[in-house]
Each structure stands twice: as C-alpha cells, then as structure tokens.
C-alpha cells in the first residue's frame, strides 16, 4: 500500500516535471517559431487584430522580397566567409599555442602565456577607438581584413587545447622521441587527430560568436561588399518608414539558420568539450 503510494507519487512528480519542461521548451523556442510564422504571413495576415499564430500564405513573396531588397545573398555569403575564416584561424593559432605551452620549455613561457590570456580582459569596447584608428591607418576599413585578422587570437582556444594536451598520456611523447619523431611530426600525426572533439567545440563557439558580432562590423564593415547579415537586417528595418515585419522576419530566419545548423551538427562535441573543461 505504502509502496504503491510512493510509486504513484513518483509518477505524478514525473508527469508534472514533464509538463513543466514542455512549458519551458515552449517559452524558450516560441520566439523562433513566431519569427518563422510571421515570415509566412502576408501584410493583411499579420496586421489582423488580435494577432494569430498560424502560418500564412505569403511565404514566397516575403522571402523573395527580403532576398532582393536586403541583398541577402551577399550578406549571407559575407557572414559565412568571415565566420569560417575566423573560426579556422582561431583553431590553428590556438592549437599551435596550446601545443607549444605543453610540449616545450623555453624562456619567457609564462610571460607569453599571460600575454595570450590577457585578451580575455580586453573586450572590444576597451580598445575600440584606437583599433578603429589602426584600421583606417592600414586602409582596412570596409575590407575583409578588418573583419577577420584582429580576431585570430583566442585565449579560450589556447586554454582548451593546452588543457587537453596536458592530459595526453606521457608515454605518447616518450614513444615518439624514442622513435625519433620530431615535435612537428608528433603534432601533426598524433596530437591533432586527438583534438577532434575540441576542434569541433571551438569551431561551434567561434563560428557563432563571429556570426553574431555587431558592433565591430557596424563600424568597419559598412559597405555593400563586406556587410554582414546582422547589419544588413538593421538596414532592412531602417529603409522603410514603417517596418515590414513579415519581410524582416524572413531575413531574420535566414540569418539565424546557418549558426543554428552549426550548433545542431556540432552540439555533441560541445557537450563533450564542456564536460572535458569541467574536469579538474
């Protein structure tokens, strides 16, 4: 009797937890669903009162208007190119730095380690005016250079790889040395293949981070040629006196799909990477 009661209580608890989680899921995902819904509605449909959350019949018109008026093809291309280049740049530089800190002894090691870590303390707003002035001196304003090169260093990545490499069994390097393998061969043939999960996790984090940048591209990337999707969508808001929400949401949906795909594809690595980062 008592036992049965317990089981019933447990079931009830589980059921309520499930309901709460479904509600949470709805709250968390609703804005994205709503954006998709409005992107399918015609003007007449989304101006109805009260607003309805049912798909409409304007999907083709909205997306084609957003695509043409917002020049979305170019914007998405720029965002993709810049995010890919920076993500790979950061991965390569961080692997090299992490590897060097773990597998070499050299003068100034601690100094250089601090130098790379310090980037964490210097977010863009702290150095924005001089960095902008540097861009204009280099003639980098409105070029891909300004949107990629300054982001190549990564404290997060360096720490992530350094930590991973410290956990590689000592015997690996010992064996390599006995076999006369030099450090770069060891890096290429042994260490990099062991870094796959971390590479994927870092790729995910950095791709999304760069894709979502706003302040820097607003200042140094505001020409047709190099403009990214975040800034382009803001322009879509500003061009008309009244916002065409359905067209804007079409652009918004297109602008959020690429990072979302990256997230979905590499999510398992992120969780593995995180649990790895949690280990003491």
């Amino acid at each position: 009797m008592e036992h049965k009661k317990m089981i019933n209580k447990k079931k009830l608890e589980n059921l309520s937890s499930q309901l709460i989680m479904l509600l949470v899921l709805l709250v968390v995902l609703f804005p994205m669903i709503y954006a998709i819904i409005v992107s399918t509605q015609t003007n007449a449909e989304y101006f109805r009162f009260p607003p309805r959350i049912t798909p409409g019949s304007g999907i083709l018109e909205n997306y084609s208007e957003a695509w043409h008026k917002g020049n979305l093809g170019r914007l998405l291309f720029n965002s993709t190119l810049i995010s890919l280049v920076v993500a790979f740049g950061k991965i390569i530089l961080s692997i090299l730095a992490g590897f060097t800190f773990v597998y070499f002894d050299f003068k100034g090691k601690f100094f250089f380690f601090i130098i790379i870590l310090i980037t964490q303390m210097l977010p863009l707003p702290v150095r924005i005016v001089p960095t902008y002035m540097l861009m204009s001196q280099l003639n980098w304003v409105n070029t891909y250079w300004a949107l990629t090169i300054p982001f190549f260093a990564s404290a997060t990545g360096t720490l992530l790889f350094r930590q991973l490499y410290m956990m590689i069994p000592r015997s690996f390097a010992d064996a390599a040395k006995v076999d006369g393998v030099n450090s770069l061969q060891f890096l290429w043939h042994i260490v990099i293949p062991l870094s796959k999960t971390n590479i994927a996790a870092l790729f995910l984090i950095e791709f999304i981070f760069i894709w979502n940048q706003y302040l820097w591209p607003l200042i140094v990337g505001n020409s047709q040629e190099v403009r990214v999707v975040q800034i382009g969508l803001k322009q879509l808001i500003d061009t008309d006196a009244a916002v065409n929400w359905n067209v804007l949401m079409s652009g918004t949906v297109l602008g959020m799909i690429p990072p979302l795909i990256i997230l979905i594809v590499f999510q398992s690595s992120l969780i593995k990477g995180l649990s790895l980062a949690d280990e003491k």
Binding site: T252, P259, S275
Partner: protein
C-alpha cells in the same frame, strides 16, 4: 607534466608568434592607446590634440548622462545575472531528474544560444510590438497592461532585460546541467523533495556543490551583460526612449563614433577596462582551482 621536446631555440617562439603578434597589434597596443588618449582632448581624425590630464574622467563623473548610464548598466547586469541564473538553475534541476526525453530537452534548450543579440532584438521587438505583437496583446488581454517599450522607459528596460535573459537561458541551463550531473543523485533528490527543510538542504548542501559552475556562470553572465548588448540596443531601442536604455557600451559608441569625441570615449573605455579587471580579479581570487572556460 609532459615530456618536453628538444628543438632549435626558435621553434617555440615561431609557433607562438602568430598569436602573440595578433595580441600585441590588436589588443595590447590599442588598449594602451585608449589609456593614452583618455588624457587628451582630440577628434577622431587626430588633427588636433590637447593634453588635458584627468579632465575627461572628471567630466565623465560630472556628466549626469554617464552616471545614469553607469547605474542602469549595473542594474541591468544584476537583473540579468540574478534572474537569469535563478530561472536556469530551477529549470536545470527539474530537467536533471532522470527525465524521459532528457536529451531532447537538452538539445532544444540550447538553440537560442545560436541567435545574435541583434536578431533576438528583432524578434522580441515584433512580439512586444505595442499594436501587432502577440505578447503585448496577451499582456493586455490577461493583465490589462498596455506594454509599450517604445514610449515607456520602465517598459523599455524590462524589455531588454527579458530579451537578454532569454538569450542566455539555454547556455546557462546546459552548464547547470553538467554541474548537477556531478552531484550524487541522493543529495539532489533530498534537496528537491518538498518539505520544511528543502530550502535549507538546497542552500547548505546542493548550492555549495555546484558553486564552481554557478561562479563561472556569474562571471560569464556579468561579462555578457556588460559587453554583448550593443546589437540588441542598436536594433531595438537605440538607447531610448530618452536615455532609458543607454547602457555603457552604447554611450561609448555614441560619444566615440557619432560625436567623434575620441578622448572622452577613451576615458569610458578605461572605466570599462576597470570593470573587466575587477571581474577578472574576483574570478582569479575565488576560483584558482576551478577551470576557466570562456566564450
């Protein structure tokens, strides 16, 4: 400690040089220049420059707009951190109870992490649009509140807080979940079951056990609240109505790039640097053992 490779003397430096060069050119030198310019009155083209000592700083702290912006930024940060983390921890504790579909929940909850503050802003602006927004209509029908973030300063502040908290929810939940996974299930059960002592157990047993995660998230969310809001503000409120949502980064942008007031903007950069330094210092002091992991 790993076995070290012997190599020519310059190889380690060669391997480090790309990172170190980038850090020097784009981080360390510009930051030092921020400090340097903060002592000058100058326009952005650099044609005229006048040494003024601490005048930019004294002007800052005499400027009611700046003081206001400072207070609003701290208020915003506290709200985002406290509410964001409390809600996330609550959700994570529910989701962690060996729930069926656990993996599905975890997969879907992180989705907003992929959205930019700007895009988040656009979607939330639509939802809370005073006339056609589905959320503002709901508020009006159920609570009789006519929510208007465009005209009402308080509503605007609430609006950016809610949008900013929403964007980080998934990220926070995932980290809390991975923290909770290391807590023995009995302790967790005991702290969740309703009862007079549940809160006590939660506070004295569970909370200390997940404190490294909590602490890490407090730091991350603080930096997020201070430095990642520009897109949201620029897209939705442009600092308004009036200066109601004119947070520090937005004010810096206005002074540096709209009014072209280099010295004044640089002084604001230095204040921001002091804020990051304080956060970093606290982080170092309190979590020398726990592992650093940033975005």
């Amino acid at each position: 400690m790993q076995t070290k490779f012997k190599s020519s003397k310059w190889l380690p430096y060669l391997l480090l040089s790309p990172s170190v060069i980038i850090v020097f050119i784009f981080f360390i030198i510009p930051s030092s220049e921020s400090l340097y310019y903060s002592f000058f009155r100058q326009n952005i083209t650099g044609t005229r420059k006048l040494f003024v000592g601490f005048e930019n700083f004294t002007r800052l702290f005499m400027d009611p707009e700046y003081i206001d912006s400072l207070i609003r930024s701290f208020l915003f940060t506290v709200i985002v951190v406290v509410f964001g983390l409390t809600i996330s921890l609550g959700i994570a504790m529910i989701a962690n109870k060996k729930l069926r579909f656990f993996n599905m929940y975890r997969t879907l909850l992180i989705w907003p992490y992929a959205l930019s503050p700007a895009i988040t802003g656009m979607i939330w602006a639509l939802m809370f649009n005073p006339t056609i927004g589905v959320a503002s209509n709901l508020l009006n029908n159920i609570f009789g509140i006519s929510f208007n973030y465009i005209n009402n300063s308080t509503h605007a502040m609430i609006f950016i807080c809610v949008a900013a908290i929403w964007k980080m929810l998934g990220y926070n939940i995932i980290f809390f979940l991975s923290g909770l996974q290391n807590v023995p299930p009995e302790i967790l059960e005991a702290s969740i079951i309703d009862g007079a002592n549940a809160w006590r157990r939660f506070r004295t047993i569970l909370l200390p056990l997940i404190s490294p995660t909590t602490f890490f998230l407090i730091i991350m969310n603080t930096l997020y609240a201070f430095f990642q809001q520009f897109g949201l503000l620029h897209v939705v409120t442009e600092g308004g109505p009036g200066r109601a949502t004119d947070l520090l980064v937005y004010k810096l942008y206005r002074d540096g790039f709209i009014s072209m007031n280099t010295g004044y903007a640089s002084a604001q950069s230095i204040i921001l640097l002091l804020i990051v330094a304080a956060v970093t210092f606290i982080q170092f002091k309190s979590s020398e053992k726990s592992v650093f992991y940033g975005t």
